[in-house]
């Protein structure tokens, strides 16, 4: 969706046009769902986050400052909603992510290539959930979403110089975590 289209949809929805809001929902729901899914580490919870995010967005659209930046604005709302969700989860002392992935015997998996591939994917998912939330968001925006530094800056509200440093620290921390949980068996970090 072009910037002009984003502006047109956002302005119409901001004036209460529910069809415009539904069009925005249909266009962004999948990417926002996947963004939330890896931020909170759970598909069901991600749906709740996306639901809450769209409700917040609908209510805040009339006050939106840059309708042409709808994409970044929605991603930002999902990010903040995800962070709220994670804080609530911590308070509820829910089961940890390692428990949720209890079927994974993290170190020392089978020798088969497919198993190794799946194992590395699982390990990275677990490691991502152990990263500080902000670092996780940066890694996902850059590697999962393919966002440029300028786009990450717009979404996270940080200067591009900060984006560069935070991404470096996030990657280094992710490698450390992978080494901690997988030892020498992991070949990705």
């Amino acid at each position: 969706m072009s910037e002009e289209e984003q502006r047109a949809w956002a302005e119409a929805a901001g004036k209460g046009d529910e069809r415009a809001f539904e069009a925005i929902f249909n266009h962004y729901q999948v990417s926002l769902f996947n963004w939330a899914r890896h931020l909170v580490g759970d598909a069901d919870e991600a749906e709740d986050v996306v639901q809450q995010s769209f409700i917040k967005a609908f209510r805040a659209l009339p006050q939106m400052r840059e309708p042409g930046a709808l994409d970044y604005w929605l991603k930002r709302i999902v990010y903040t909603t995800s962070m709220d969700h994670l804080r609530q989860r911590k308070r509820r002392a829910e089961t940890s992510w390692d428990d949720r992935l209890g079927h994974h015997n993290l170190p020392g998996r089978g020798p088969e290539a497919d198993a190794l591939y799946q194992e590395q994917l699982d390990l990275v998912q677990v490691a991502l959930q152990r990263l500080p939330e902000r670092y996780r968001a940066y890694i996902l925006l850059r590697e999962f979403e393919g966002k440029s530094y300028d786009e990450i800056s717009a979404i996270m509200g940080d200067p591009t110089t900060t984006v560069r440093v935070v991404l470096f620290r996030a990657r280094e921390r992710l490698r450390e975590i992978l080494r901690e949980i997988a030892g020498e068996d992991y070949h990705g970090a």
Partner: protein, 289 residues
């Protein structure tokens, strides 16, 4: 350049977010530094793995869930009217009694005679504004202005009125002819200016609570008549040159040329409230403040 700074540059190089000068610097460094060469390779492997993380689509009912999440707000107005329900019920009873018994005791007359009575008042005192006659269904005046949350929710940009402030339209008198033989509820009446003179060629905007909006232009003697879609509660606003927003109760908003006197508050719009129970005909006398 410190090695730590070079490491940051290596990371940016992996993302292709470096200047030409930085690129040359990194490539020269990596050619000599085994640690940074391995780091660069590790970033590549990590990136490829993260890109393969599962992707999917949310449940098909997510849109319905979003809509249901918004629904309570849509019902906010009705919930806030609930405390006033006994008063409204009492008012309805008074109106019904007035219509049934009124003519016998000099009270409210049926619709058409009421208009004639208003006209007689005007003839006797043409320069004076019609005085309020204790209309049983007069304007609902909210206790306070809209909250910041409501302003945000409904995109209200105009400044809310002070608590207790009334609409620029005032209901001077109102009578209801219940269940008269006609196809649809009907609103008829006369509009006067603040000096008591009939207001001609003036557009009134009438809205219900679910998105219907109608408009009617007054005739030379300030009269108007408008068929309404169904029984319900309607608001009347004065249209004018000033661009304002008519807010609808389902959370959407429709732009219309209104004098800016329609505001959302804790109890509803500051505007005349008219309740129709069936195919009634409501006769109102309105006055611009």
């Amino acid at each position: 350049m410190e090695h730590e700074e070079l490491k940051v540059l290596v990371c940016a190089y992996h993302d292709d977010e470096v200047t030409a000068e930085e690129r040359a610097l990194v490539e020269a460094h990596v050619a000599e530094c085994a640690e940074c060469a391995e780091t660069l390779a590790a970033y590549g492997r990590l990136g490829r793995t993260v890109r393969r993380l599962p992707r999917g689509a949310p449940s098909r009912d997510l849109w319905q869930r979003v809509q249901s999440g918004l629904a309570p707000r849509r019902g906010l107005f009705w919930r806030r009217l609930l405390p006033a329900a006994p008063v409204l019920a009492l008012v309805a009873i008074v109106v019904t009694l007035a219509i049934v018994w009124g003519p016998q005791f000099g009270g409210f007359a049926p619709a058409q005679p009421a208009v004639q009575r208003e006209a007689a008042v005007d003839k006797s005192a043409p320069s004076a504004a019609p005085e309020p006659q204790g209309s049983p269904l007069g304007a609902i005046v909210p206790a306070s202005a809209g909250t910041a949350e409501e302003m945000e929710t409904y995109g209200l940009t105009a400044a809310p009125p002070s608590p207790g402030e009334m609409s620029s339209l005032e209901v001077v008198s109102q009578t209801v002819q219940r269940g008269v033989a006609q196809a649809a509820p009907r609103l008829v009446g006369t509009l006067y200016d603040a000096a008591g003179q009939p207001l001609a060629d003036t557009v009134l905007v009438v809205s219900d609570m679910v998105g219907w909006t109608g408009a009617v232009t007054t005739t030379a003697d300030g009269a108007f008549a408008l068929d309404l879609p169904a029984a319900g509660t309607y608001y009347v606003a004065l249209a004018g040159s000033a661009e304002a927003r008519v807010l609808e109760y389902n959370g959407t908003a429709a732009d219309a040329a209104v004098s800016g006197t329609v505001y959302l508050t804790q109890t509803g719009y500051i505007a005349p409230l008219i309740v129709l129970e069936g195919n009634d005909e409501v006769v109102v006398t309105l006055r611009v403040r």
